[in-house]
């Protein structure tokens, strides 16, 4: 692999790992269910960028793009279902704090 491609890969990899760290931090520390969903979005975007990068480096951009298009469709439905569950959590608890979702124990 040519050296400037290798350097490109290294730069991209650093930033993708930073995005993963931001996403995980957001999910772990957040006290608001909708912000947790935003953290999930950031994680999926990082994975999307990794797939496109992999496709670019090995020359199969067509395959990578079709994977990403399918992934975006899954992401939409995931957000819709997550939004629905958040909506009902709000209806039961009057609050969208994940710390309140701790009735089941043991």
């Amino acid at each position: 692999m040519s050296p400037d491609l290798a350097q490109l890969f290294e730069y991209f990899l650093i930033f993708i790992i930073l995005l993963f760290v931001i996403g995980f931090y957001c999910i772990l520390v957040s006290f608001n269910l909708i912000r947790i969903l935003i953290g999930v979005e950031i994680l999926i975007k990082a994975a999307t960028l990794l797939i496109i990068l992999a496709g670019f480096l090995c020359g199969r951009t067509a395959l990578a793009q079709s994977i990403v298009i399918t992934l975006i469709v899954i992401e939409i439905v995931f957000m819709v279902v997550g939004g629905g569950v958040t909506f009902w959590a709000f209806r039961h608890n009057e609050d969208i704090d994940p710390r309140k979702l701790s009735d089941l124990k043991g």
Binding site: I27, I51, I67, I74, G82, V85, L101, G106
Partner: protein, 476 residues
């Protein structure tokens, strides 16, 4: 023709929703039940139609790349049986007509997802259909929208999305080193020594994702909440088959045909499996909620399958898959019993029950049969699968793990008999004297599942030759 397994439920879904609702609501149950019975009959009696010489006229028109072998056949049979049991229980457990129709539609989507998971040959399509199964199970868990269900669904959602991100990262790395995501290309990429480090990282990430999906020890946090808080037919579905078709089958398929496991990974699998067995059994002993105890029991039994897969000899693989089938049957039976008890007495707290065997004879008999099968008592089916696993471990030289598996069967017997003693035997409580047996919609699947357990156990030599031996060819 394998593509019929995906296209037939898909067409049913479209037809059920295209025509006016009043007619469709009445025939929805019958139609889906016929579809599932057809799947069971074709696999057991005429396997040649579905896979084999007949070829695949529709599939080749569409460029599907599907492949069925002995492993997929056994999984397809378990999927059909458990989904049929869940559908029948739903006729009684979900009262509202509209919700029951939504439930039937979502069951069709889960059926498509799981059928497709066991027959695809491409890593990204595998991920896609696992996601379809997960999405519809989130919706199913929250179908009645009560507070514990929403909480269980949210925890499952969070852990499932982390698993998805791991799987996507793994797929990206495989795309990078091999240029394609099909099983053939991925397994070729393991042979190139220049890529060894990256490929091992990718395989490890995919394994972590599968551990989350299967609910083994470090990542089991969502399992007790999700499986105990959802309505009974959904519990039957989740514990009975989703955990296994989405998690353990994928592990078995990747371990045998796609990934090449290093010795370190096999040790990790065995350690995590053994830990899950013991942890699940000990945690189940302390529960007082019927369904929560059964959910921890699922963690324990899945540990058996992971332990056998880590051992990686042909006999161990056969034992793991046979245990998968048996667990689908007896765990569904136990959850159906729990649902019957919940509907008739209105509670799941075992400390408030007692002596129900005189009031609900069929439920208590089938529950005893399922418990004995789970604990591995001859001549029921569970005995044979546990025997194969323990023998395989002993032969491969892992005597400590075989010992742990043997001792944990005794623990399994302990907590399951605790359920029997608390709920069904003992003195009849005053408040429960007016309980009657559950109606036909619940009793019928109970009898059928118990019959399958007994029949499989008694006819084991015949089944061994036809269904289990072909599995051994998968490991070379």
């Amino acid at each position: 023709m394998p593509s019929a397994l995906i296209l037939a439920p898909f067409l049913s879904l479209i037809i059920l929703n295209l025509f006016p609702k009043e007619i469709m609501r009445k025939i929805a149950f019958g139609w889906v039940a016929c579809l599932l019975l057809l799947q069971i009959l074709l696999i057991v009696l005429y396997p040649g139609i579905l896979f084999g010489a007949a070829g695949d006229p529709i599939g080749s028109f569409f460029a599907f790349e599907l492949f069925i072998d002995a492993l997929s056949k056994l999984l397809l049979l378990s999927i059909a049986i458990v989904v049929l049991a869940s559908l029948t229980v739903a006729q009684y457990a979900i009262k509202d007509q509209t919700q029951r129709f939504n439930f039937t539609n979502l069951i069709l989507i889960i059926l498509i997802g799981m059928n497709a998971t066991v027959i695809v040959t491409d890593l990204f399509s595998l991920y896609l259909f696992i996601e379809i199964t997960s999405l519809s199970s989130f919706i199913l868990i929250s179908i009645l929208k009560d507070k514990p269900a929403i909480e269980g669904a949210f925890k499952y959602l969070m852990l499932s999305v982390i698993a998805s991100v791991f799987m996507l990262t793994s797929i990206a790395i495989f795309l990078l080193v091999s240029g394609s995501t099909s099983f053939a290309a991925v397994s070729d990429s393991f042979k190139n020594p220049a890529n060894a480090f990256l490929v091992q990282i990718a395989a490890g990430l995919f394994l972590c994702a599968l551990f989350i999906k299967s609910g083994v020890f470090p990542f089991h946090g969502w399992l007790p909440d999700a499986h105990s808080a959802c309505p009974t037919p959904v519990s039957v579905l989740l514990s009975g088959i989703v955990v296994k078709a989405g998690g353990i089958y994928v592990l078995a398929r990747l371990a045998t045909s796609v990934f090449t496991f290093s010795a370190a990974m096999q040790n990790v699998l065995m350690f995590i499996g053994a830990f899950s067995i013991v942890f699940g059994a000990l945690a189940a002993l302390t529960q007082s909620n019927f369904k929560r105890m059964l959910a921890y029991s699922t963690v324990s039994q899945v540990g058996y399958m992971v332990l056998a897969l880590g051992c990686f000899t042909p006999l161990a693989l056969a034992g793991a898959v046979f245990h998968l089938f048996n667990h689908a049957i007896f765990k569904s039976l136990l959850f159906v019993n729990a649902g019957a008890v919940e509907k008739q007495t209105g509670t799941l707290d075992m400390n408030r029950m007692g002596g129900l065997s005189s009031q609900m004879p069929v439920t208590s008999t089938t529950s005893v049969i399922a418990s004995l099968s789970a604990a591995g008592v001859p001549p029921l089916a569970g005995f044979w699968s546990k025997l194969i696993i323990i023998l395989a471990l002993w032969n491969a030289g892992h005597q400590t793990y075989a010992g742990i598996a043997l001792v944990s069967s005794i623990l399994t017997l302990a907590y399951l008999l605790a359920i029997q003693r608390k709920v069904f035997f003992g003195k009849l409580e005053q408040t429960l004297t007016s309980i009657k047996e559950a109606p036909l919609a619940i009793v019928l699947p109970e009898i059928l599942l118990a019959t399958i357990t007994i029949a499989v156990g008694l006819s084991f030599p015949f089944i061994f030759n036809n269904w289990i031996l072909p599995l051994k060819e998968l490991v070379h």
